[in-house]
Symmetry: D2
Subunit: 305 residues, 4 copies
């Protein structure tokens, strides 16, 4: 941890003062209210030792990072059958594209584009009694953090401006790949996007994908070792929209970003690192977050390659 | 090595007798002459210890696996400027698609689709005096194997039936991203595809991407450590056409396939493993090769994730 | 009229007994209940003389033929400004494609694909107090036929299975090109599709596009002469989904088809002819309808070219 | 003719002084040498009476207008079988797109996009002994104008910069829809594009598509009446790239444009009118040419609709 701490401090100071050419997401009104200059880092290693710097204890909207959590729960429920509903290929197209969905007859390219995450939410609605509450319980349990919660204002903001997600969900339903009521599926989807956490909380909740034989406080396994590896593989190939190749190339770790400006990256069997900086580059990923992680893995020589 | 040897023997026997639903590539006449039931495996570890089974010492056409070799030499020449000419994103489309090339104004998605490999050959033509001979020398040197050679019959077969590659090269030239004469670029491209090697030779030549500080017999570095990691990253995200996500998901190693039925996979700092079985699945990758590698990394728990 | 009558009788008998390789539309359950062998023709000339044969007085669901009526009313309201909301180009893609809509940033290619007709309905909702009732009044007035009505069963059937149209409408709204409430717009859209008429009624209602200076019973102009010509032009280039070129080529008249099996064709300043036969070819147009009209214009040498 | 003459003079003066926001085509160097302010009109009626104004007797490169001439000759040779090789649907995409060609497996959408015209040239090469000379003879005979000729400088300029057309031709050949040698087909294609004519000559050569029972000086029919109508239909739906709908909508006549700035429009059984003004709008059609024809058909009320 000492080695990482030192590099983090050094790179943090480096990147902090760089001119940020990114822009805060504005596609939903609530996201635009964030402090654009926020910048925080948190790392948690497999011994559960933690180090943070900057705004690492400020809550922010984790947005699409939640797609890894919904996927994990759906995978736990369905096992390999899940892949009949959603594929594991990079999309090669902007994150909200309807193009490929049409060509692929309603089977989304992967669980990290909106279309795929909506199908995943449909799977969860089929399995959960109280989808929103039960999913929240799952998050609280794997993180051993009973304070985690949705931001209802953000969820509502997503709902009233989410015409494209309504379009997506109805479009997929026209192919038969949504089994439940569109409103119920989207209600869960919009809520999962609105989950708020701090860098520290995020770096802790993702230990279940970092540690091979992770068990919860209650001593329960979350998903199998093989499933863990596979989710990491999907993060590497699909975690950053149409910049996934670039992230693998520059950073070399499985990861997932959200339009709230957060990025989670995992070095299997070593650590989970989280960066938060709200200004996004043109591809929709945190500008400073990408930069920080590239320098960090470069200096620590800790890419998986 | 003993552990791997045992697993390889076991999985080899398993997969050998499975009904092969794949089909031998026939897009160029010469490839169709191969013995469809060939099946060979070779592994070489970073101590240069080797183990092989089946047809691991039979020469076959490495085809697109050569794209990793041309990329490596071009990256050595150009450094980071290379990425102005070709991107590092998965294509999300069949390997010979012209769709994205048009949308991306002639900049190929990655160096492992045909379009990208043709641009890489153009880069080599700009740097080499005798492109075909000099590239062959590079291959011989990094593998310490002076017997490596092109299969002129295959190269000629590629040439007379390669209308789509002629189309691609002219199309890219219309965007200004081919600097040399189309015929010269394609002559190099068709020859690199025709390189023939055995599984054993392939597992040895790719040690330069397996070992962090690899040096040739003459004591020279091929590419930098950072470049090595980055090529591995591109292999993981883009090495298997539109089945790259699936390979990362099922096998969990950087790799590259060719329509000759070969697959190379690399576990950085551990080993390079090569499978050859000519029958291809619908996505153009060796059916038994994919199967073998999935079982192998699963049994040895040696994915990078 | 005598000349047309003779040719119609002759071609009707010809085509009646041809083996119909088409299929009745089944995308909404209600449409599948039609008698698949229905076959009727009606022609009305500019003197309002009418001739019919076969099932020309049976009501059927006019479906997309109504798109010409909604367009006419919206054009009357908005004039040339209408074309800021929808284009007049053939789509070159299947009728319910979302592909081009994305590329064109929410501006539908033409008013005869679903996306375009939904935008047109949005325009009508902005102008009409009671959209459904007022549009029906418009149809009754221009046809001098107070019995015209919606088929509520069909409208309901469209509504409960219309996920793709819900998707389309929300998708367009995400680009800002739907101004009203999605439910209200689609309610009008589904009702207009459910209009039912006989061949005879259809051939009469479309006189307003056949006669240069058409006035209603009350002596009012519907649209200007220039607007009439322009709607005819759009019918010629866009009236038959991705078979529009084929219809212009084989039949040579402006026209519009519906998945209920109806086709309206107009010879400006001469006549309006309507065919109804429910079995559709692969492109979604009445198989016998296309055949009949090709033979009819060929024998009467009355294409506009 | 007097009526037309008056309107032409009036509209000519109107449009002449309008600020031309178009740009001269520069995709081949030779075209850029034209006088950008050239503006000429010529009309020829079915009695072969002619009237011209402005630069109507200056030669210019007819470019894609020649696609109507090559189509006519190929249609004469092949009859309806021609449509197995090329379709008659509007493309809905920019004129040199490879997108649809891939989706349509090498069958071009229509004979007026480059891909289609190249296939048409392949048909001609199959039928003609000396393709270039024989096609020129055909043009000279139907126009009764032995002075017509290719502009070899333009043909050469097309050849040396025509990488995209080389790409197209090879791409189509990869689907098997080019039967002859690529070089020979393109040599004919580049030459046909380089044909040079005056407005007057163009308005005369296209009489064979204006007059129902046109015969050459020698008393021979060129194509059948039905073929004539069908070529006119294709011009209406496909003559102006992805602005074909717009031309039908605004002008209402079958026509064909070229990037040399020429537009031919035909009123069947009445007249052929030609405008030439080299500055093109964004869709690649003459800016003033479109404007002139819209005003002309509007004032003479002579659209076909």
């Amino acid at each position: 941890m000492e080695k990482y701490k030192e590099v983090i401090e050094c790179v943090y100071n480096d990147v902090k003062n760089i001119d940020d050419i990114g822009k805060v997401a504005s596609y939903i009104p609530e996201l635009a209210f964030v402090d654009a200059n926020s910048f925080g880092i948190s790392i948690t290693n497999i011994k559960n030792e933690n180090f943070g710097i900057g705004d690492f204890e400020t809550k922010f909207s984790i947005q699409s990072i939640s797609k890894v959590l919904t996927l994990s729960l759906a995978y736990k429920f369905e096992g390999a059958e899940l892949w009949d509903r959603v594929d594991v290929e990079p999309s090669g197209n902007p994150f909200n594209s309807l193009l490929q969905l049409e060509a692929d007859l309603g089977k989304p390219r992967n669980p990290f584009i909106n279309a795929g995450a909506i199908v995943i939410c449909d799977v969860l609605v089929s399995h959960l009694k109280n989808p929103k509450a039960d999913f929240l319980d799952f998050c609280r349990e794997i993180s051993n953090n009973p304070t985690l919660n949705y931001d209802e204002k953000v969820a509502e903001s997503e709902r009233v401006s989410g015409f494209r997600n309504v379009a997506l969900c109805n479009f997929i339903k026209s192919f038969g790949n949504i089994k439940n009521n569109v409103e119920e599926v989207l209600d869960l989807y919009f809520h999962t996007c609105s989950l708020e956490m701090t860098c520290k909380e995020l770096s802790q909740i993702f230990l279940f994908l970092t540690i091979d034989n992770f068990t919860t406080k209650k001593g329960e396994k979350v998903i199998t070792e093989s499933q863990t590896k596979r989710i990491n593989a999907i993060m590497l190939t699909c975690g950053f929209y149409d910049e996934s190749g670039e992230f693998a190339f520059r950073v070399g770790l499985p990861g997932k970003s959200g339009v709230g400006g957060g990025i989670v990256a995992i070095h299997p069997d070593k650590y989970c690192i989280v960066v938060w900086s709200p200004k996004l580059n043109k591809k929709g990923n945190s500008y400073k977050g990408m930069l920080f992680l590239e320098k960090f893995t470069s200096k620590t020589a800790s890419s998986i390659f």
